[in-house]
């Protein structure tokens, strides 16, 4: 029997992202130079493309399902920003805790979840990642240190700094892991973020404050909400780096820069991703009120993360266009099947209404007659 030996080839390329790296150096700790090149391995990068396609297909199906009223509630899509989780996870490992806001579907599958768990959660089924009790905004994976999925804007940032505190205490000069806490350009004006940054700097907590700047806080452009729109500078006394969030390799190297900074015991760092979302803030947001279709199309043509990676792979000779088309179709089929599986999965049982409120609960369902329903 013959089988071809796959060579995992590691290559290095020069990095020339559309949005160049920028550094904010407050002069308190020594900083490494900005990344100029990216290393990738030919097999892993194919997996990266597959993951980005998977996220995009999953989000597109979520959009359709929402419009068909199969998903109720709120649904915030990640389309356009796929390079961020995929690029970061090339550098992070699953012992590095992460916490994000409500735009979390992509993160769930990048952290070891499946599209079935995402769809089932949004449909309110028992097979969902949070037993169908959380919905679109509350996806978690305790095994792989994915702390979710949070609805209140900005509230997750101090929580994320707290996740990394343990690493600082256990090993102050060379922490074992970093935590990454995400927030958007809209959330960047929440006071609690600055409280978290201050404590993180004082205690040299190895946390990456990752700002996903997709240019709009729902309907308000960043210029109208923030006096300083260079979010990587908003850490003030905390160093910051600006990264092209639509270029997966730039994301990867920017994350590597940030992680190495934290692991050297130098304290927190701000990482701003210059990114863009093609859909509205959520399914209830007709984004025609604050931007034009041509603006979205322009970014899509020039900087789309999936198109960039595809062009890169062809020019590097890693994949042919035919192979990529095949991959596209394969991923599409795979995710479509997960959707069908989720649609047919059983609903969350009614007992889940009053479980998991507190541990060790004795819950009495009060009604005028004393019982809610007969649980046979």
């Amino acid at each position: 029997m013959r089988f071809s030996v796959r060579c995992l080839e590691k290559r290095t390329v020069a990095l020339k992202p559309h949005v160049p790296f920028a550094l904010h150096d407050p002069g308190r700790v020594p900083l490494a130079p900005l990344p100029v090149e990216a290393t990738y391995d030919t097999d892993a990068i194919k997996q990266n493309l597959a993951m980005m396609l998977r996220i995009r297909r999953m989000e597109t199906l979520s959009d359709q399902s929402y419009k068909l009223k199969k998903i109720r509630g709120f649904c915030h899509l990640y389309i356009g920003q796929e390079a961020i989780p995929v690029g970061m996870e090339n550098v992070l490992n699953w012992q590095d805790p992460i916490v994000t806001g409500y735009r979390d579907h992509g993160w769930h599958i990048v952290r070891g979840g499946t599209p079935f768990e995402v769809f089932a959660e949004m449909f309110g089924r028992a097979g969902g990642c949070s037993k169908g009790k959380g919905g679109s905004m509350h996806m978690y994976n305790v095994k792989n240190n994915f702390y979710g999925g949070n609805g209140i804007v900005g509230a997750q940032v101090p929580l994320g700094a707290g996740l990394a505190w343990r690493f600082a205490i256990e090993n102050p000069t060379a922490p074992k892991n970093v935590a990454v806490t995400f927030y958007g350009d809209g959330a960047a004006n929440q006071g609690q973020i600055f409280e978290a940054m201050n404590i993180a700097a004082l205690q040299k907590i190895p946390v990456i404050f990752a700002c996903e700047n997709n240019q709009f806080g729902m309907g308000t452009s960043k210029k109208r909400a923030s006096y300083e729109t260079d979010f990587y500078k908003r850490g003030h006394y905390i160093p910051g780096i600006k990264v092209d969030g639509m270029n997966m390799l730039a994301v990867q190297e920017g994350t590597r820069w940030a992680k190495e900074h934290c692991l050297a015991g130098k304290g927190p760092v701000v990482l701003e991703f210059d990114s863009y979302r093609y859909m509205g803030h959520s399914m209830s947001d007709p984004d025609s009120a604050y931007r034009s279709k041509s603006d979205i199309q322009a970014v899509r043509n020039e900087r789309d993360c999936i198109a960039q990676i595809k062009n890169f792979l062809v020019s590097e000779g890693v994949m042919t266009t035919d192979e990529m088309e095949k991959l596209d179709k394969q991923i599409k089929k795979e995710v479509d099947q997960e959707l069908i599986k989720a649609e047919q999965s059983p609903p969350t049982p009614m007992s889940e209404l009053y479980t998991d409120i507190v541990l060790g609960e004795q819950y009495s369902h009060r009604t005028c007659q004393g019982t809610v329903w007969n649980t046979a």
Binding site: G132, V153, N189, Q190, T348, M350, I357, R366
Partner: protein, 355 residues
């Protein structure tokens, strides 16, 4: 500077608007227009900005009209100086509102969803509520009004469905008001804005499009601290507010078929509330049911129950019941089970009558 303001102030004080005790007292001959709840809010805000040159409207995304269209067209009409967006910071919005109000500006601040009001909780409870008291009436932020959509909407889940009125009704120094339909909404909102105390005005978001009525086009106010007897009856008193009014009205209609006559009361101002109207009714009927979406333990129903039984003990024929949401976080898919619907209220009515 001061004289200019006082001249403007006296213009508003001239009272070219009428104040009615309840919606029933609005004369029938007033010219009316079909409005739903968000149009009524929009109309009230328009009138405020027109008649009070010191009025400002601000909050997240209010400039393009707001997520519920309550401020539609107002920025175009009154300009960026009077209708403007704030960054995403509820604590900042409330605190700035308090600051503005303490200089005499009529600050109408919007908190995009009542679920997001908690970062502002410290400012509202510790600053806004206590300003007049701790300064011996030298300062106050009476011209502050916080408007915020609240309540279940069918798919809001944990963070777009909460009814936090109880937290604020527990804070002396604040007033809490909630309308049940467009006619009430316009009158109560204008009264709340013009009231010389900080008011939190909850707007049931399910009714923004869902509730429609012929609303008077004129400038009018409805009195605060007045509970509205929507329907008179003799056997059971039903008390609720906001979107829950529809639920108890439907339950009352179901009970009517069984020959039970319910008196349906809308509390309207939740704090300080009109205990006299409630007691007058319960003294007549001898039975009372209070219903609200918020969790039952320590909800406003608990306060009303205690206050009513204290005054009406000897006239009660049955224990006062509270038919409310369960003591769980507001659920996602289990919302229909969680909510106190008309069937639960109907059961309560039957239980009260059979006691």
């Amino acid at each position: 500077m001061i004289s200019k303001f006082s001249r403007v102030f006296s213009k508003v004080d001239k009272k070219f608007f009428a104040t009615y005790r309840t919606a029933k007292d609005i004369p029938a001959n007033l010219e009316r227009e079909k409005m739903n709840l968000f149009t009524a809010v929009n109309n009230a805000l328009d009138i405020t900005l027109q008649t009070d040159s010191k009025a400002l409207l601000f909050g997240e995304d209010v400039k393009f009209g707001g997520v519920f269209r309550c401020s539609l067209g107002l920025n175009e009409k009154y300009g960026n100086d009077r209708v403007f967006n704030t960054p995403l910071c509820e604590q900042g919005i409330a605190a700035f509102g308090i600051g503005l109000a303490s200089t005499g500006v009529t600050a109408v601040a919007e908190i995009q969803f009542a679920d997001y009001i908690f970062p502002a909780f410290d400012q509202l409870v510790n600053e806004a509520a206590k300003y007049r008291y701790r300064s011996g009436n030298q300062f106050n932020c009476g011209s502050l009004t916080i408007r915020t959509p609240c309540g279940a909407v069918g798919h809001g889940a944990h963070y777009h469905s909460q009814s936090p009125e109880a937290y604020f009704a527990h804070t002396p120094g604040l007033k809490v008001v909630i309308p049940r339909d467009p006619v009430q909404c316009k009158g109560l909102l204008l009264a709340a804005i013009r009231d010389k105390n900080p008011v939190i005005f909850f707007e049931p978001k399910a009714l923004y499009r869902g509730a429609e009525d012929m609303v008077p086009k004129a400038d009018y106010e409805l009195e605060l601290h007045v509970a509205d007897v929507v329907k008179e009856g003799t056997d059971v008193t039903l008390v609720a507010w906001g979107a829950q009014m529809r639920v108890i009205s439907e339950a009352a209609a179901m009970a009517e078929k069984d020959g039970i006559s319910c008196e349906v009361i809308d509390l309207q101002t939740l704090y300080p509330y009109d205990l006299d109207t409630l007691c007058q009714s319960v003294n007549k009927t001898g039975r009372c049911i209070i219903s609200h979406e918020a969790p039952i333990t320590c909800g406003l129903g608990a306060e009303l129950t205690a206050a009513i039984q204290e005054k009406c003990f000897l006239r009660l024929e049955a224990p006062i019941q509270r038919i409310c949401g369960y003591d769980t976080p507001f659920p996602l898919v289990h919302e229909p089970i969680y909510l106190p619907d008309k069937f639960k209220v109907y059961e309560g009515i039957k239980k009260a009558v059979k006691f």
